[in-house]
Symmetry: C2
Subunit: 338 residues, 2 copies
């Protein structure tokens, strides 16, 4: 049994739980024989969904949890009060070593707090960043941190850069990933106090391929592989992707429907356009890892459908096989302590 | 002569100076008899361009300035050293009261520094914000501050909200503009230290229609009329508009050219699409005002063509006629000092 990669999944998290979560878990074990999924949630509801599928013996197990943490609940209080919730129980499976990873489409706040409090940080990691993969015109980039640690300090950003670099190299297969810091100009002397302090520290890191400042304008154009920023800024970047993308696609559709001529054109253009725009849909990329913890925690969109749940679960294979946490430990922990 | 609205224009600023700047100035005076333009720059170069046009007597004057501040120059040093530059001379015309406004497509840094140092702040205004108008699916919004004052304090953001509200109401004609603060969640307790401190201060402002937090995702959807944020965040928002917009349009074009069927469709769709996407082109909206100064300073894109220069110049009419600076003075200066 210990040869499995064990993934706990929050069966109650997200807008489409438990149906889409269970479906995603089933799809994941059908795709990989390496994975065992622990569906954590209300036993009757989860089992009712699970009964719809036939899966290989022993690859999915239901772990009962009677409570659910809602998105609107204050995270710290919810984590403390709801000991029998799917998030708390799922994270404890990782903490105690029964599982290697935990995947949730539930409350972002509860996942972030739980990751720190219940799963716990790797020794030496000051703050665990949330790091989604975002699309660019020529592939993808890692945005680190996109919402876990507002008002971060320079030393945090340096750790984000290192963890992000390891992730992009060993999970996404980018050799010597280009690390850039989000700035409001290209020059070293530009920026706010945080960026000005962080810039020289990143320059000193011999183990990083630091390429300097990246302006937000150039992120979608693929200017860097690892986009380092403070969480508030990262959250704004992520949400502008969604917002501008959504608004523009809405306008494109409106434009196409505005005349008879354009309506005919739209019919012809549609299939090709759909294919291209899919690459720019953030939800295609599975969940965002919360890095620097004992084990892996993956946060997927609240609106996740089965494909995103499946991709988030499968992500855990490479994370375990590539020994990402050992690599983080080696690079993050100061040499004298190691 | 004093009945004119006098606008100094940096004839040497931007990638297309002096040709497009002079053209824009000519177009502005052809459109409005209220305006007199002072083209500040190298006399021979400006006059050579100007000679191409016939304009009403006395509406354009050339003011010689032998130096040019380049975009790459450190702003503070450049403002000090180049006393005979178009930016320094143009701003001094505003300072001494000969002109009501100054428009430049030149170095952003020099315009921001010059605005504070040469033109000077209205008494009581702590920091002058740069506030571009940005497109939304149902109109426009004002982004304040988008790059003038990094690491701002809560009191600055409150002033930005007030100045932005006055601008949107009296220049853009939006009744009781909805003021939102950029945040990483909708709830009052969310955010970084700056936002958490600013939120209750904005709530207390009876003269503002404060609607609370706005997530970046909802900005392009028109969630607020005045988008209040610190300059680093504002800069990221503005540049994500350009970056995601540019990347998506590039992908849409690529998608349309990918099959024969879609190529035919593209021909039919193109005219209608061009019209819709124009509304999402930031350069359509003229320059960004730097608010809170004695007089008006407008910064337009470095890549400005004549239409943007013209719109930036014409913006100065409403600014003067609506007595925006008197309104700012009334609302910003604490009652006991007034």
């Amino acid at each position: 049994m210990s040869e499995w990669i064990n993934v706990a999944v929050d069966a109650m998290g997200g807008d489409n739980a438990p149906a889409e979560v269970v479906k995603g878990a089933v799809e994941a074990v059908m795709e990989s024989r390496k994975i065992k999924v622990f569906l954590v949630g209300r036993e009757d509801a989860v089992k009712a969904e699970f009964a719809k599928y036939t899966v290989p013996e022993g690859q999915i197990e239901v772990v009962p949890a009677s409570e659910v943490i809602e998105t609107a609940e204050p995270p710290v209080a919810a984590i403390r009060a709801k000991k029998d919730s799917s998030i708390v129980k799922g994270m404890k499976l990782v903490k105690e070593g029964s599982c290697d990873a935990f995947v949730s489409a539930g409350s972002t706040g509860a996942v972030l707090v739980g990751g720190q409090v219940l799963v716990g940080r790797i020794k030496g990691v000051e703050r665990p960043p949330l790091a989604p993969v975002i699309p660019t015109v020529n592939g993808v980039a890692l945005l680190i941190d996109c919402g876990a640690n507002v008002d971060a300090r320079p030393s945090h950003l340096v750790q984000f850069a290192k963890m992000g670099s390891i992730y992009m190299e060993h999970i996404m297969g980018v050799k010597q990933p280009r690390v850039g810091i989000v700035n409001i100009g290209a020059e070293e002397e530009k920026g706010n106090a945080l960026v000005k302090e962080t810039f020289p520290l990143l320059k000193e890191c011999r183990d990083l391929n630091f390429i300097g400042s990246v302006e937000a304008r150039d992120i979608p154009l693929g200017a860097a592989d690892v986009i380092v920023c403070e969480a508030f800024v990262g959250n704004v970047i992520l949400k502008m992707y969604e917002g501008v993308g959504g608004a523009l696609i809405q306008e494109v559709k409106k434009g196409m429907m505005s005349t008879l001529r354009s309506k005919i054109g739209a019919l012809l253009v549609k299939p090709a356009l759909k294919e291209t725009l899919k690459a720019f849909d953030l939800e295609q990329y599975g969940g965002a890892p919360l890095l620097g913890l004992h084990g892996l925690v993956v946060k997927t969109h609240g609106s996740s459908r089965s494909v995103e749940i499946k991709n988030s679960i499968l992500q855990c294979i490479a994370f375990k096989e590539q020994k990402i946490n050992d690599k983080i430990r080696e690079q993050i922990v100061p040499k004298e302590e190691a």
